[in-house]
Symmetry: C2
């Protein structure tokens, strides 16, 4: 049996029991709120994780790239929403994916996207591409405002055209990440709900069916008080959790399922050095909002010890009480909890799935945006 | 012929002419300073780039992972320094790489590393592994202080043992990145030089040969006034440049060779949205020291326009003068200059090598730390 003392470092560890507990929590939340759970796979990017996240749910998922859409379709996921505004240059690939039998929904918020999509989809009679209109519920990223005139115009323009199927409305309360309390998150969740429900009503009032009314974000999914009128939610980071989500109150720190395993490569009077730096941890500092000391990650099991500086392949660890580092030796292995696991996980090709120090399996990730030749196979 | 309007986005672009100019600049600097150039390939992670960086030089390179060491050896690079403190668990792989005929140097600064290395190397008679002692020149990351008692003890312990070859001393002035002026960088460069030269003298005074006296960092290599007593320098980021290096005075902004090509996916009264976010750009904010407005990158060709916010797959662009964004349409393509190119490039599988809008070639990168099964080939 392989243990975590035997694998190369830096490495991404995934605690299977915590993942399962987090998945079960959100499945129960969706049922309690009376909505479907369409988990966002942008964080995990793994079919193995998706099987756990969809267990007990209807099977639909959300993705953030067409590379994910392609990969998850290959792995048997038949209902996929690509929840990033569609670039015109990606329309043909999206149509091609839809024509292979999996239901794919794409996101638009601009007449230019609608026109190009409708023009290119005209030849696609079977397997229409689902189209959702993105609604801005206050995040100020993408989407039309729920009272914008062109919301209904967009739905009218798409509805009934060959090769496409108008599917509904979708929003993302990204501004929930800036909240400072559970009450504040619950208010953002209510604004998120209100925006898409209002948008759906305007479209239905114009005589157009609007089957999907979709919200999403781990903080709002965790703390929404009700989701009346909503049909589905799309949280993602809850599967793993991270220091930022723990700070936001989405889950307790002991349910963070992912960590970076690092080897100690230097021991000095005031610090230790590990082989996990900015590339293995990411340079995301979001969790510093909750705890300015957190740096680039928190060392599990060493009280008050943080990665205070991250160079490309070096992490410098210091502790509030330097005595916490006493006894750490060159060659020791430490687990570092990530600030923002979506960023951290993306630096790694996959997960070492663990139960304590036992390595159970390796699960690969679908990183990036397109397939490339393997660098190690190219020799000039 | 392929153009940048035809490739998938987000994509990493590499301007070949700028790369060549940057490589020629540093080759000339090394000659003027009378030292060898051992370019650090941690930024580029590409044999194609390494051939350009080593042209006109002795052919040695520096790497930051054993994955790079393995890859560059496969591609014919015969003299490689792995310039991150050696984790004991990596000793066997380093010995195995050295036994395949390429010269490999590793870095130690602690008796624990020396003992484990010497014990494991004893069986390796041919192709000894080169050993450098890391010296701390004021950066406070890794290394022994030049006047530390165990500097000479480490050299004595390694020198003459079977399977290893004591090669010299190495330092990195990482603190040059915090400088605010060229004068300040020149002072750090002189401290960097002074530290390794002093360390080498102490070792030689103990009767031990110390062939290599190695310094490195792009700012100090660019602005050092003299490198007497030094044998080689190991800058890396100079090949590409980035907004942080431009702010530090390492190169003018118009010589930044790498950018991220992004598609516009949303246009709003106060902002535009592109399909390059935190994953494609990285969350590194180092360039904000020089210009707090820079956010996560600067849009080339749009005056005063920056990526002010980066979510996973979304970049939000705003401009000092909103009129700079007039005329930008959904589907347009923009180039974003990176804050810190080492982090940005690592998010991509390789480079689209360009001359203007012409795509000349694709060059893969050797990312990560170990080989994994390809996610797209695994079907359960």
């Amino acid at each position: 049996m392989t243990t975590t003392s035997q694998i190369p470092t830096p490495a991404l560890l995934l605690d299977r029991a915590k993942l399962e507990a987090n998945a079960a929590f959100m499945t129960a939340r969706a049922k309690a709120l009376g909505v479907k759970l369409r988990p966002h796979m942008k964080t995990a990017k793994s079919a193995d994780v998706a099987r756990i996240a969809t267990a007990g749910n209807f099977g639909g998922i959300t993705v953030s790239t067409l590379a994910e859409a392609r990969y998850f379709a290959q792995h048997g996921f038949k209902d996929v929403t690509y929840a990033v505004g569609l670039a015109p240059a990606k329309i043909e690939e999206a149509l091609s994916l839809a024509s292979r039998g999996a239901r794919l929904n794409v996101l638009i918020d601009h007449p230019e996207q609608a026109q190009q999509l409708v023009a290119k989809a005209a030849g696609q009679d079977d397997s229409p591409l689902g189209v959702l209109i993105e609604v801005d519920c206050g995040d100020g990223r993408g989407g039309v405002l729920p009272d914008a005139p062109w919301l209904v115009e967009l739905a009218k323009y798409v509805n009934g055209r060959p090769g496409v199927l108008f599917a509904g409305v979708l929003t993302h309360a990204g501004h929930s990440y800036a909240c400072r309390s559970v009450d504040e998150i619950a208010k953002v969740a209510e604004a998120e709900r209100g925006a898409v429900v209002a948008a759906a009503k305007r479209i239905r009032d114009a005589g157009i069916a609007c089957d999907t009314v979709s919200v999403g974000s781990t903080p709002t999914a965790t703390h929404a008080r009700q989701l009346d009128g909503v049909t589905e939610m799309r949280p993602g980071v809850y599967m793993f959790g991270d220091l930022d989500q723990a700070g936001l109150g989405s889950l307790p720190e002991d349910r963070i399922a992912v960590s970076v395993l690092a080897s100690v490569i230097g021991v000095y009077p005031d610090r230790i050095l590990v082989d996990a730096g900015g590339l293995a941890l990411s340079k995301d500092i979001s969790a510093q909002r909750h705890n300015p000391q957190v740096g680039y990650g928190k060392v599990a099991g060493l009280r008050g010890a943080y990665v205070v500086k991250a160079n490309q392949e070096h992490g410098i660890i210091q502790a509030d009480d330097p005595a916490a580092l006493n006894g750490v030796k060159v060659g020791d292995r430490l687990r570092i909890l990530p600030n923002h696991v979506c960023m951290t996980a993306a630096a790694h090709p996959g997960y070492y799935v663990v139960n304590g120090t036992k390595v159970l399996e390796r699960w690969p990730r679908i990183n990036g945006w397109e397939q490339w030749p393997d660098a190690t196979r190219k020799t000039k």
